[in-house]
Symmetry: C2
Subunit: 116 residues, 2 copies
DNA sequence: TAAACATATGAACAACTGTTCATATGTTTA
DNA sequence: TAAACATATGAACAGTTGTTCATATGTTTA
């Protein structure tokens, strides 16, 4: 018999064509990776974690994490461009807070996975 | 008055000492970042996503993602060392599958956040 | 045992990332 | 308006990361 869809290796699992058909769109998976990439840095995780408690201004986040104002500002920009934080200006100071509740859920899920 | 705990900037938010007290341990946050770092790569996300459907062998994952066997093997090692996948050998072929259900939950939360 | 097959791995390299430093922008106060 | 304060930003640099290439390890079959 000449099966054109024959696999190189003979594995006992579901045909890869079927798996392939069930995969989300390539672009969506890219966006997923990009989202998790944001959470994949300790400084940003700390910032997010701090913002769970309270809206904060840049200087205080820097003070809290014992880091440079510049470093924090750069990271806040990353978080902002990913729509994870929102900004509110009041005179000289700029207040940052979390954009929505999904962030907390994702954080908590990660936490649960770690603590097992 | 000489308030030793005075803040450099006078913001209207919760004192940073209180925020600081509520933060999880430094090490835990590092582990969190490390976990999300794994999800923060498109190749690994795709592998994880494929394994949602079925246990798979290395060659087929490579075929599915149109990538080198070597590249996939390297990434599987990363996933394995983070205990996200488990291994089962059967003769020549090695089958990979997801280690637990938390992975699916984290993935789905990310998906939800994206689709909004 | 030799050949074929399936996977793993080390070295190398390019691309990406996070911090620092210097400085710019924007706001308030004296 | 000048000075002080709060934040943002560009360039540079070191450290990290993902892929490739060549090759090694491990398993089965002829």
């Amino acid at each position: 018999m000449s099966d054109k869809n024959e696999k190189k290796t003979d594995c006992a699992h579901e045909p890869i064509e079927e798996v392939s058909a069930k995969m989300p769109a390539e672009e969506l998976l890219y966006d997923m990776a990009d989202l998790f990439k944001i959470f994949g840095d300790c400084t940003r995780i700390k910032i997010i974690c701090a913002l769970f408690e309270s809206e904060l201004c840049v200087n205080h986040i820097a003070e809290l994490l014992s880091m440079t104002q510049s470093a924090i500002s750069h990271q806040l920009r990353v978080l902002k461009s990913a729509r994870l934080v929102k900004v509110r200006r009041e005179g000289k100071t700029v207040y940052y807070s979390l954009a929505d509740d999904h962030i907390k859920t994702i954080f908590d899920q990660g936490l649960e996975h770690i603590c097992e």
